[in-house]
Symmetry: C2
Subunit: 455 residues, 2 copies
């Protein structure tokens, strides 16, 4: 616990410290805003009338975004919209530079300007983002344009080396356990929950998710499990505590590893759960079960075959496994802003891409479930808890950080409700695996009747 | 019914008739056997001692097949095995030509020689095939050798044009409804059944499968369904009869179309179920639901995107669909003998390949279930019923046909039990589809509690 307290973003002079590049980027963003003459959210941008050319550029961009039902109010009092009678949101743009950036690369510019306060929104942020996601279909944007094609090919370069993966994980997960503790559930599970009943609390739904994963995997006492990417250790501890298995789990985050080890010790599970600070590529041993919840997004598609090879090496001849990951209906990188500001190096694969993990090896896929509605619901809980604590987040970081994460959480809800993002749970096994349940009915039967699934 | 009675195989002189190439091939096979000097199963092949070179060739082949636990007994009394103490089967090879064919291309040669009676087996055929499938892993055989690579590339050529598809369907499905009626269930469903309880009868399990498909699709009265590949019409009629929907269904088989129309008329469903003799590529109209059970195997992977385009064209903006198909863990054609003698033009895709149907379009995959255990069980029922009626099959066709289909049904069981074959049900929907159930629990709940799945 002591290892996880890193509340305040350091000032720019400390940017080279072991806190990594995140504060640097925050600062860079802030400097960008200043260099454009915008000292902060409250102050207006540089005055001067909006030209006809600027309005034409903006209209053109709105058209390319599918004519969303929004109105853009500019700093000189003029407004531009796509001729829609009842806009769901009014977007206030405070300065000329922001307007030009929006016209050139709207996603990146909107994310940064919203975080800086150079853009303000009147209306519901979620509704606004859902509409933006729905009108601008991914197909239009993915590979059509030259910049789109460039981004596409750049995203195929091998980026997720072990060293780079370590930095990327550090960027997102080491910004402070105290921060995540404010709005995650009591066990700090930072992946999609499972709500058998949508009125469940977040704590209940995260426990239900862990049980659901364990039950899909048919864990039996005495079995061995290897987990790739353990977060703060909740699932590994849950498996050992409730299913009597031994777990070896790896993760690249130093803070998370120390935190998870403390939890294991405090619960008396340290002899049955081994938390290793290492890359999945270095896993060794042979296990009955492989599990990975929320790591595939960070693996990088060039490395799926390598991940499959690790599973193949670590799984006994009759083993089975489960991979839980954000995904897509079709190949497309994360939106630029998410990739640059929130999750560097992350990529949500399509099912076809995910199959590169399994098909080169001797695995059979038994069950794929899309839980994207559950991720939208999980994020609603996170966002509500986060927004109730925005003052504390501002005291811990700053206003820009508050807005950035509000946008990220709200945008993620919109991603899952509009079907721009998916959440896949893939259950697989060796082709000759025995004891596969005859149907999936037992997964949904009363827990009392379950002893072992009928084969 | 009258349209479907085609009991006897015509003699060679009628080979050019509208019965297609199947009798021709049967005859060709028989002539092959004769030309090798083997007048039939009872008679021995040409005498002469087996040479050391021939035994070396056979041993080499056994090694490349993974040293299966079999013994090969040759016509001169000598035997060859892989040094296994307790062979599960004794393979009697009656002549030199069969031996050489086995050494060169074992799958094709075994299939033809077993059908001809030039090979006889002592031991359990299923056990023998399961062992052969298990020891010779698909990975070794698929693209390793030159013939393997050639077959691979040949299989990528565009073969499943509309004309070719029509001939291929004719080859397998038009050999006589009376034949299939002998060993299929009462409703003539020639696809994997679903056994919620493994002790169900085949009739019950086929009805359970049709219900399972309808429930996964959440059919509601008054909706419209388009079905690609309707077999003898059982599913389309089931949907209209029990779920109150209207169905347009297409199929390339003339005999099946006439048969299905008769059934619809007899049941008073002709106004709600339209059976069309046509290719799926010619489907028109807009529907709430797309369904296809057991057709994708015949589509050919070069045409998956085209199939996706047909679904995209035929499905309303909030529609949903289900594809049920035999598949593989990794790309690999059907074994040569199946492809040549049983299912010309068929190909069981891997999940990654299947995604070519969905990913170019606006579909989200919600659920993939692998029912391969259920196909093994279905085939056990079919084989038992078939074997109980082999005398009648012999009277309808001939002994060679009896053995050929026995081998095909038994080999298919072995394919599913060893994990060489999979059975995937893929449920998908438009990304913005509404009313998706909150969990899958309702699929397994008592039918009484089901009115509409909880959203």
């Amino acid at each position: 616990m002591g290892a996880s307290s890193t509340p305040k973003v350091r000032p720019p002079t400390e940017a080279g410290s072991d806190r990594g590049e995140f504060p640097q980027r925050l600062d860079a963003g802030r400097r960008d805003a200043r260099s454009a003459g915008s000292p902060g959210p409250a102050a207006p941008g540089p005055r001067g009338r909006v030209s006809a050319a600027e309005k034409w550029l903006l209209r053109r961009r709105l058209r390319r975004l599918g004519d969303p039902a929004i109105r853009v109010a500019l700093w000189d009092g003029q407004a531009v919209d796509a001729g829609v009678e009842h806009p769901v949101a009014l977007v206030r743009v405070h300065d000329r530079r922001t307007l030009l950036e929006l016209a050139l690369h709207p996603e990146m510019a909107f994310g940064d300007a919203y975080s800086d306060g150079r853009i303000e929104l009147e209306g519901d942020l979620r509704e606004f983002l859902e509409m933006m996601f729905s009108t601008s279909t991914p197909t239009n944007r993915s590979r059509g344009s030259l910049p789109g094609r460039l981004a596409w090919w750049l995203s195929r370069l091998p980026a997720n080396t072990i060293g780079r993966s370590r930095r990327d994980v550090h960027h997102h997960y080491d910004i402070g356990t105290d921060f995540y503790r404010m709005w995650l559930d009591e066990q700090l599970v930072y992946t999609c929950a499972y709500f058998p009943d949508p009125s469940m609390t977040l704590d209940e739904a995260q426990r239900a998710k862990m049980d659901y994963v364990c039950r899909k995997l048919r864990l039996r006492p005495g079995e061995t499990v290897v987990e790739a990417g353990f977060g703060w250790g909740a699932l590994a501890l849950h498996m050992a505590r409730h299913y009597g298995v031994r777990v070896r789990a790896c993760n690249l985050s130093h803070a998370q590893t120390l935190f998870a080890r403390e939890r294991a010790k405090a619960e008396g599970l340290a002899s049955r759960v081994e938390f290793i600070e290492d890359d999945y590529r270095n896993l060794s041993g042979r296990f009955d079960v492989f599990v990975s919840v929320g790591m595939l997004e960070h693996v990088g598609r060039r490395y799926y075959r390598e991940l499959g090879g690790v599973i193949d090496r670590c799984l006994k001849p009759e083993g089975r496994g489960l991979i839980h990951s954000i995904g897509r209906d079709r190949p497309m990188p994360f939106r630029g802003w998410i990739d640059r500001r929130i999750f560097p190096g992350a990529y949500p694969p399509s099912l076809r891409e995910m199959m590169h993990v399994f098909e080169p090896f001797r695995f059979s896929v038994f069950d794929v479930e899309n839980l994207r509605q559950h991720y939208a619901k999980t994020l609603e809980h996170w966002l509500a808890r986060y927004q109730a604590r925005e003052d504390r987040v501002a005291a811990m970081f700053d206003e820009r950080f508050v807005r950035m994460w509000r946008l990220y959480l709200t945008g993620s809800i919109a991603g899952f409700t509009t079907g721009s993002l998916q959440l896949f749970q893939i259950l697989f096994a060796r082709p000759g695996a025995t004891g596969c349940p005859w149907t999936r009915a037992w997964l949904y039967a009363d827990r009392g009747s379950e002893a072992d699934p009928p084969c």
